[in-house]
């Protein structure tokens, strides 16, 4: 059973890979967004700092003069080791204070400019002043970039750690899923190998796997029932076909005897024909049951009069019932009983029930064929007899295909009669019930008020 399954064992890793990939993609996107937004934010903050300083020094120059402002710049350059450097130039282009980074000629246009000085990148804010001269504010971009890089590496590290955690979790989860699914798959394999008693494991966790296993087990139980039923049907079918076929072969064998009189030979051929007909009838009945059970015959439902149908069938079967030493009483309404149904199968069902009565109710029995109204208002067809009846414990069984209470099968019949009646009930959405007629058997075929509406069970 535990053959290596490369495809299946690859699944947990595949799942982990897919999950990790998705997480990595999402985080990379997030990182890019953080990076862009962060850069904008830092730039705006740094510009604010530069502009505040500019406004301060411009105001300083206005009030105290350019020279005083230049000294203040020197002072700030000494006291502050930040990212900013400042320089002031007079109208002649001479640097009068602050950092010595560029000469007046090298200064860019007023406004912000990024420029490399030596091996350091600066963003330079150049501001000409109304009192004369120019103010330059240099921002060393290395800080900004170091911050940026720190942010990116931190995010990257987070991403890596998350990836490892997610992949691990996905791997574990995948293993878990595969393990649960494998239990179900193993049960399916055992069923396929012929062990109908195998069931999917239920962990008792009340999760989706238990639901699935539960549903599968219910299905398996049903399949097992069907298979068991099928096996007994096959056995009975082989008996019911084998017997007439054997008799058919026997009759033909005897007919081959050259010393036979023509009359004897004809009689044998006639017998062969009768056996052949029995095989065909069994086949036909099986097909009818199968079609009725699968609902295929539904397209042939039509309006009919149940009262007339009951009278007709009574008419057809009265001689047979009388020949069996019984009496037949047909009880129906004079008025038409309109119904939408499958006329042929209804006739066949009632015919079979009357056949059974004639066959099993015995000499002197009273057989009743009646059309009444059921408790739920739908039409009710009844075939009742005063014969020996069927014990309550056996009543369910006789509805099955091929079941005959006479185990030796010495009486004629295919054992399909009641099964056809039951299939007829099912086709019409009705119900077939067997009960005690005190004495005898009472078979009730309840039909729904409107076709398709099922009476409550």
């Amino acid at each position: 059973m535990n053959r290596p399954r490369p495809v299946r064992s690859a699944r947990p890793a595949t799942l982990a890979l897919v999950v990790a990939g998705a997480v990595a993609l999402a985080m990379t996107l997030g990182l890019v967004i953080v990076d862009l937004a962060g850069e904008r934010l830092i730039e705006r903050r740094q510009h604010l700092v530069a502009e505040t300083a500019r406004d301060y020094f411009v105001a300083f120059a206005h009030e105290d003069g350019l020279a005083a402002m230049a000294r203040a710049l020197d002072h700030r350059a000494r006291s502050e080791g930040g990212a900013f450097d400042y320089a002031a130039f007079d109208n002649g282009g001479r640097r009068i204070g602050g950092a010595d980074l560029l000469s007046a000629e090298q200064l860019p246009e007023p406004g912000y400019t990024t420029r490399r000085i030596g091996d350091v990148d600066y963003e330079i804010l150049v501001q000409p002043m109304s009192v004369g001269g120019t103010l330059a504010i240099y921002e060393n971009l290395a800080d900004r970039r170091a911050f940026h890089w720190a942010m990116v590496t931190a995010a990257g590290a987070t991403l890596l750690v998350s990836l490892v955690i997610v992949a691990g979790a996905a791997l574990l989860l995948g293993r878990l899923l595969v393990k649960r699914a494998e239990g179900i798959a193993q049960a399916a394999e055992m069923i396929a190998a012929g062990d109908l008693a195998a069931r999917a494991p239920v962990a008792g966790a009340a999760d989706v796997f238990d639901d699935l296993a539960g549903a599968i087990n219910a299905m398996l139980t049903r399949i097992e029932e069907l298979m068991t039923g099928m096996r007994s049907v096959t056995d009975s079918l082989s008996h019911d076909l084998r017997s007439p076929l054997t008799r058919l072969r026997g009759a033909l064998n005897r007919a081959l005897d050259e010393t036979l009189e023509p009359d004897e030979r004809l009689a044998l051929i006639g017998e062969a024909q009768a056996q052949c007909d029995q095989v065909l009838a069994t086949f036909g009945a099986l097909l009818d049951i199968a079609r009725a059970e699968s609902g295929l015959s539904r397209e042939l439902m039509a309006r009919l009069d149940l009262a007339e149908l009951v009278r007709d069938i009574g008419d057809l079967f009265e001689p047979v019932v009388e020949d069996a030493g019984q009496t037949l009483e047909v009880v129906t309404t004079d008025a038409a009983a309109p119904f939408v149904g499958h006329e042929l199968i209804l006739r066949q069902a009632l015919g079979n029930l009357l056949h059974n009565a004639a066959r099993y109710a015995g000499d002197g029995a009273r057989v009743v064929l009646a059309l009444e109204t059921g408790e739920d208002g739908g039409p009710r067809l009844i075939v009742a007899d005063s014969g020996p009846g069927v014990p309550a414990s056996q009543r369910g069984r006789v509805l099955e295909r091929f079941v005959r209470l006479d185990e030796t099968r010495s009486t004629p019949g295919s054992g399909l009669g009641l099964a056809i009646a039951a299939a007829c009930a099912k086709l019409h959405g009705g119900r077939l019930t067997l009960s005690d007629n005190h004495p005898g058997l009472r078979v009730v075929l309840d039909l729904p008020l409107a076709p398709g509406t099922t009476p409550e069970n």
Binding site: G270, C276, L280, L287, L300, I313, D315, L344, Q348
Partner: protein
């Protein structure tokens, strides 16, 4: 004039079985093995009846039947089928066929049904009474007499007798009686029809010198003056 019958059947053995039987019975039989050929022959030539297989290569028997009817051809069509369930007969008749027979079948059954179909085709004047020899049925009063003597028949016996009188001198099979008089499928487990026949026979033949209702071995029954 020999009557012409078209046999549309793709199975060679079955076709030969039918053709041989038909020719021995004095019919002129023609055979095609394909649905399209069948449609062409049935609608272009004048046949007295068509025997049509249900499952055919090219075009199935039901479609051919529908097409033949759509072309306005009223030749009686009997469908042969290996599909044996209850609904098949109804679908066959709905497609425009006149009769339906399930395989396997006896040739006698096929012949009896074909005879029946071809007679049905010829228009009959409205009858008020039916007779066979000295047996008469008045369709208006529903009274039966034989040799001037009144016979008491149950309604179902009247129904059966009427069917026999309408098919006088022809073989009527048990299946035909069940299907056409009672709308019931033949069931070999009981002597359902034989029981009815023996009761009818008792009423119309008992006490008379010449029996009218004959048993035809292997096929069914025949109501006829001739033995």
């Amino acid at each position: 004039m020999s009557r012409r019958i078209l046999v549309v059947e793709d199975d060679a053995d079955t076709a030969e079985y039918i053709l041989k039987g038909l020719r021995e019975a004095g019919f002129t039989a023609e055979h095609v093995a394909d649905g399209r050929d069948g449609l062409y022959m049935a609608s272009s030539s004048d046949f007295d009846a068509v025997v049509m297989d249900r499952m055919l290569p090219g075009m199935d028997g039901l479609s051919v039947t529908k097409a033949v009817r759509a072309a306005g051809v009223q030749t009686p069509i009997l469908i042969l089928s290996a599909l044996a369930h209850l609904d098949e007969r109804v679908t066959g008749l709905r497609a425009g066929a006149d009769d339906y027979l399930t395989k396997p079948f006896g040739f006698a059954e096929l012949a009896a049904r074909l005879e029946n179909l071809m007679r049905r085709g010829s228009a009959k004047p409205v009858e008020t009474s039916l007779a066979c020899g000295d047996l008469a049925l008045d369709l208006l009063s529903r009274r039966v007499t034989r040799g001037g003597r009144m016979l008491e028949l149950l309604p179902r016996e009247l129904k059966l007798l009427e069917y026999f009188l309408r098919h006088r001198d022809r073989v009527v099979t048990r299946t035909m009686l069940l299907e056409e008089v009672w709308d019931y499928r033949f069931d070999p487990h009981t002597s359902l029809i034989d029981t009815h026949i023996s009761r009818l026979r008792k009423k119309i033949d008992e006490g008379f010198e010449r029996p009218l209702l004959h048993t035809v071995r292997g096929s069914g029954y025949r109501l006829s003056e001739a033995p």
